[in-house]
Symmetry: D3
Subunit: 136 residues, 6 copies
Amino acid sequence: MSTVRLWTDAEAEANPRVKAVFDDIRATRKSDFVNNVWRALANQPDTLERIWSGLKDVMVKPGALDPLVKEMLYIAVSVANGCSYCVHSHTAAAKAKGMTGDQHAELLAVIGMASQTNALLNALQLPIDPQFLVES
Amino acid sequence: MSTVRLWTDAEAEANPRVKAVFDDIRATRKSDFVNNVWRALANQPDTLERIWSGLKDVMVKPGALDPLVKEMLYIAVSVANGCSYCVHSHTAAAKAKGMTGDQHAELLAVIGMASQTNALLNALQLPIDPQFLVES
Amino acid sequence: MSTVRLWTDAEAEANPRVKAVFDDIRATRKSDFVNNVWRALANQPDTLERIWSGLKDVMVKPGALDPLVKEMLYIAVSVANGCSYCVHSHTAAAKAKGMTGDQHAELLAVIGMASQTNALLNALQLPIDPQFLVES
Amino acid sequence: MSTVRLWTDAEAEANPRVKAVFDDIRATRKSDFVNNVWRALANQPDTLERIWSGLKDVMVKPGALDPLVKEMLYIAVSVANGCSYCVHSHTAAAKAKGMTGDQHAELLAVIGMASQTNALLNALQLPIDPQFLVES
Amino acid sequence: MSTVRLWTDAEAEANPRVKAVFDDIRATRKSDFVNNVWRALANQPDTLERIWSGLKDVMVKPGALDPLVKEMLYIAVSVANGCSYCVHSHTAAAKAKGMTGDQHAELLAVIGMASQTNALLNALQLPIDPQFLVES
Amino acid sequence: MSTVRLWTDAEAEANPRVKAVFDDIRATRKSDFVNNVWRALANQPDTLERIWSGLKDVMVKPGALDPLVKEMLYIAVSVANGCSYCVHSHTAAAKAKGMTGDQHAELLAVIGMASQTNALLNALQLPIDPQFLVES
């Protein structure tokens, strides 16, 4: 179904750069499960390393936002971009980080409302109020 | 610049349905400022009432998510949908609700990272891992 | 502001292929006004001819849909794709074809509602009901 | 396959708010069929009620646009937003409201043509002709 | 699964206009395989002829860009538009035209990187540097 | 106009991490010009360093694709994502790398054609031909 081949664990074991990333994924997530996106990116170790490293920096490293909030933001972007795989994987990740059914429902309500007003504003083509241009 | 006419305060005052919404916007936000989107929607009171009412339900009514988190989700969706007005207005709203520079920067980093992996996954067309299909 | 140069009337007059298209645009629309998109496409007569010819086939030639309905569909797609120029030009075209303020407002309400449920469905990732797969 | 659980008829019967919406869907559509989107939204009665109520206002209540035209506009937006479920359900709805094969084909031709020129204009970044900025 | 019926070879043979296009597809591609998009567009010979003719002009006729480069551009646009069928068919076409695994991986890296910075820029809403507005 | 403050050269000089990136941008591009996106990202050195480093890896480091081809792919993605700043900056970059007017015109023709068929396929919801699923 995919446009590239997915690497098996045996293949990953045999390639030092791929093995190092898979090992780090497992250690970081404290789980043996390596999902398909990494098995696909394994075809190009440069990209595999760069994407995993960037994802760790943005999503795993402690920062100014709560990890669950970041997963919900990820879902919001993935929904707007129509990425089915991403919606599935990050909804699972958000649930694993404690997202309740009520939080999920409210997340969806916000995404839907924003998409509705985004469309209205794209249709109205309004001048931006000067108040919104002031920077702090 | 816009595709519809923007209502002045004097015009809004003269239309009971529009006046009622503008009054409620000012009371809800505790501010005299009514931004352009409402002045544009005033051309059709049905839509004006429905959108404002929906927005209050989703964004103002206390729920399962923090108000600032909802503003950041709104920004994320607006960025992905390329709505310039919405990005400006909701970034201003998030700052008004206390978003710090570091939180804004991390929000942008998450949006950018999600957009990158969304594109990769849309290119890879991977089968969704069965683990992500299990529902709680 | 644009990424290519816009052709003046004098330049268009001097190029037989561009002149032929500009003449046809004026004759078809019964107006001397040639808007910027054609002045930009003039840089490549092949594309200019192909796009204008396709647009006449789809939008001008009598078919199964009313011309005003087709303009409103064009606006709906342009809003969803976030094309500012297209929203402006096709809103103007729809008004020229008789779109009333109420029709415009209802068009926007439909576009907004569809965008909201599109987002909800992209978030829910539902199986398509078998009833929708039956073809007539 | 979905990211939330779908409610059965038995579950819907047991929840007064969900039952009221399902009953209204059946009465409004004069059909016993309740499609999956409502069974998914049932997880959050607030959102279920708000979306169904908005959809009735925009799509069912007599207005300035023909119901079939509104279904075709819904399809156009759903195609542009890449919502597979929405394209399926609203194409079925449009057929049920009398959309002929020729109208469907012309609808698709308009959507395709608009998407092509949307992309060209997004690439050309043209100034908007002053004529399009004049408001009536 | 589709929203329209797919034409069989026998049906295509019986319709002179559809037969002419299918014959030309086979002759142009030097292959007996006619993929589903043409079997779907066959429902409307006008659109079938217009799309196939345009596609030959843009993608088959020798021009200023290499055929493989054009296939990769097609993939890039299809990924950004979230078109699953198009990503599959044009990835297959690019491989048939010689795209290597390394080229595919680098193509994906560029698409991902561009999507990330697109999102950042849509969030930042920056003024365009005057240097980028100068036309040659 | 932007949602964040743009850093001046003087401010960049005073921050060692920002200065290092600005110096590297200037050295890599052999030009004193640092465009606005970097002045905006300077507000968060972590993101500034990560994005510039990733961009160098993908766009500057010699790889399997020609640098001009990569710029054209970047334009294609930016057009599809409706990022005005990105279309301007990468069109300028492509011209600087030798993109001719004819190549630009053909690039636009491919982007437009792909967007048209993307929309048609999103509307048709076709099953993917088994031939496209075979992996090499």
